[in-house]
């Protein structure tokens, strides 16, 4: 059965062009740092398996992780919104914070170390396997050239769902 049955070619709107525009805008904004945001790194936690074919985005995601790895443990200004007893409450909070600071500082600085080590390890693994793959691809190409196998056509991006999961 022909695929034409399902082609409608609705006038006035072109989804393919719209998505291309959106992707161009995303690329530009990514370069401007608009998406360097730990909230995006958190939101993508369930989508990572799907991003493995999008090298560019994986690099961006690692950048998000780097941005998110450090918990802010520096001092902050203590404020109080309630009008009554405001100054007294601020003073009380400052006392509590000064009592807790030594403990939380120690705890979070250790957590930051662990986070930093984990991100470094992930990046290291990514680089190691990328280098390994490049080397394997180079060897395959060399062997194919030696065997007279014609070079394959350029691959379509796999991000639109054609990538197999494998089993």
């Amino acid at each position: 059965m022909s695929q034409n049955v399902f082609e409608i070619n609705a006038p006035g709107v072109d989804a393919e062009r719209l998505v291309a525009e959106i992707r161009a805008a995303v690329e530009r904004k990514t370069a401007e740092g608009v998406y360097a945001d730990a909230r995006i790194a958190r939101a993508e936690r369930l989508n990572l398996a799907r991003l493995r074919d999008t090298d560019e985005f994986l690099n961006f995601y690692l950048q998000c992780l780097r941005d998110a790895t450090c918990v802010d443990i520096s001092d902050f200004s203590i404020r109080e919104r309630r009008r009554f007893f405001g100054p007294a409450l601020v003073a009380l909070k400052k006392v509590i914070w000064s009592l807790l600071k030594f403990y939380t500082f120690r705890l979070w600085s250790q957590q930051n170390q662990v986070n930093g080590l984990l991100v470094t390890a992930v990046e290291g693994l990514d680089q190691k396997y990328a280098a390994k793959l490049r080397e394997l691809e180079r060897r395959v190409q060399a062997m194919e050239a030696a065997a007279g196998v014609p070079a394959p056509a350029a691959q379509q991006p796999a991000a639109d769902g054609q990538a197999g999961e494998g089993a």
């Binding site: 369930l46 985005f57 639109d160 089993a167």
Partner: protein
């Protein structure tokens, strides 16, 4: 071309009243339309209704259900569930599975020896046997009885089960396949070298409807814009991802956009999203269509789809789609219809949703294009023609 006048449909479950499972609904609807067109249709199914326990809750026997002659057979109760689950866990992990383990898995899946015995005794009475979906023991074993007259309705996904050796055997032996969408046929071509000459893309028809876009918001007291998802809520369907994305969208853009969910299953949403999430559970078809009609977009975050029925319904309601690019089928439908956008990751999602929110004319144009697409490609007369052509020629 000889007319296939006597048909048997096989599905693991059959609902006499409501709907159960997308694949079962598809097979039931195709059977009903074949019967309405004057073909003799018998529906063979099991006594089970629950897809977790597979308990035989319906009485076995033969009953008339509308235009269909339905035979209910008991599910085998002696299956080794622990062996099934052990191999299934290995398949899920992507571990290599030996041929004996694959056989153990399928033979301890949902099976009915009584159904196969009926087929052996009466299979000669049918010109064509349509069975699906592909990963159930009932389908697998039924296809062995009369492979030369069996047409598979696989509802095939790109998932670990599809890569099992026994599935290649299943696709090799049947007389043909009825696919729901072109990407599903492409997947079968890639995995099993399934020839186009033995297959057809049929899909399922939808009845057009009219829905007032203001009714749902008025009834629920919603004053803010909302996006909607309808269907089962589970990780495989992508609903937790949708919740995470919507929370990030709200926090990053400051837009007060709500999320409406219809359907079944627990919602795994971050606590910060809960005040902005409206879970209406099961609603009537009319209620679902009204909810869809008022939405900024129908978001389909699933990557495991062989046919996006709810996306087609959203288009009939005039609402554009916003789908995960990881689903080849949903993407294909959006491309063919010009009825929606697709996202690879959060930045695509944010940018696409902002466009839809800020441009009502674009929303209307995409929704209208989607509606035209469904009314043309998925109107019942068009689907019936594809179905009957396939039945009579494959």
């Amino acid at each position: 071309m000889s007319r296939a006048g006597r048909l048997a449909f096989i599905a693991p479950r059959f609902s006499e009243t409501g709907t159960i499972g997308g694949a079962e609904t598809l097979l039931k609807q195709l059977a009903e339309h074949a019967a309405a067109a004057g073909r003799s249709v018998t529906f063979l199914t099991t006594c089970a209704q629950d897809h977790f326990s597979w308990a035989n809750t319906l009485p076995p026997g033969r009953r008339r259900c509308g235009p269909l002659d339905v035979h209910f057979f008991p599910v085998d109760t002696d299956r080794d569930v622990s062996a099934f689950l052990r191999v299934q866990a290995q398949i899920d992990r992507g571990a290599p599975i030996s041929p004996p383990d694959e056989e153990t898995w399928i033979q301890n899946s949902v099976n009915s020896r009584a159904l196969c015995a009926h087929l052996r005794a009466h299979g000669g009475d049918y010109d064509r046997i349509l069975a699906g979906p592909y990963l159930f023991g009932v389908t697998y074993n039924a296809s062995r009885v009369w492979p030369e007259k069996t047409l598979l309705v696989p509802c095939l996904h790109d998932e670990p089960f599809a890569y099992l050796g026994i599935m290649r055997g299943l696709f090799d032996r049947v007389a043909g396949c009825l696919f729901n969408a072109e990407p599903e046929r492409e997947l079968a071509r890639r995995l099993y070298a399934f020839p186009d000459s033995k297959s057809a893309v049929v899909g399922m028809g939808l009845e057009p409807f009219e829905a007032d876009p203001a009714v749902f918001a008025r009834r629920r007291g919603l004053t803010q814009p909302y996006v909607i998802y309808s269907g089962r809520r589970e990780t495989l369907k992508g609903t937790p991802l949708l919740c995470d994305y919507l929370l990030a969208f709200r926090e990053r853009t400051g837009r007060d956009l709500k999320l409406v969910l219809t359907g079944s299953g627990p919602v795994e949403a971050p606590p910060a999203l809960l005040p902005h999430l409206l879970d209406v559970g099961f609603v009537s078809e009319q209620g679902k269509h009204e909810a869809m009609a008022g939405a900024v977009a129908f978001v389909h975050p699933s990557v495991n789809e062989s046919f996006g029925i709810v996306l087609l319904e959203a288009w009939l309601a005039g609402t554009p789609g916003l789908v995960h690019a990881g689903s080849a089928v949903l993407c294909w439908q959006c491309r063919q219809a010009n009825g929606g956008l697709w996202f690879r990751h959060y930045p695509d999602f944010e940018e696409g949703l902002l466009r839809l929110l800020d441009d009502p004319a674009l929303r209307r144009a995409l929704g209208a294009a989607g509606r035209r697409y469904v009314q043309t490609a998925y109107a019942w007369p068009a689907v019936e023609k594809r179905l009957f052509d396939a039945l009579d020629s494959l």
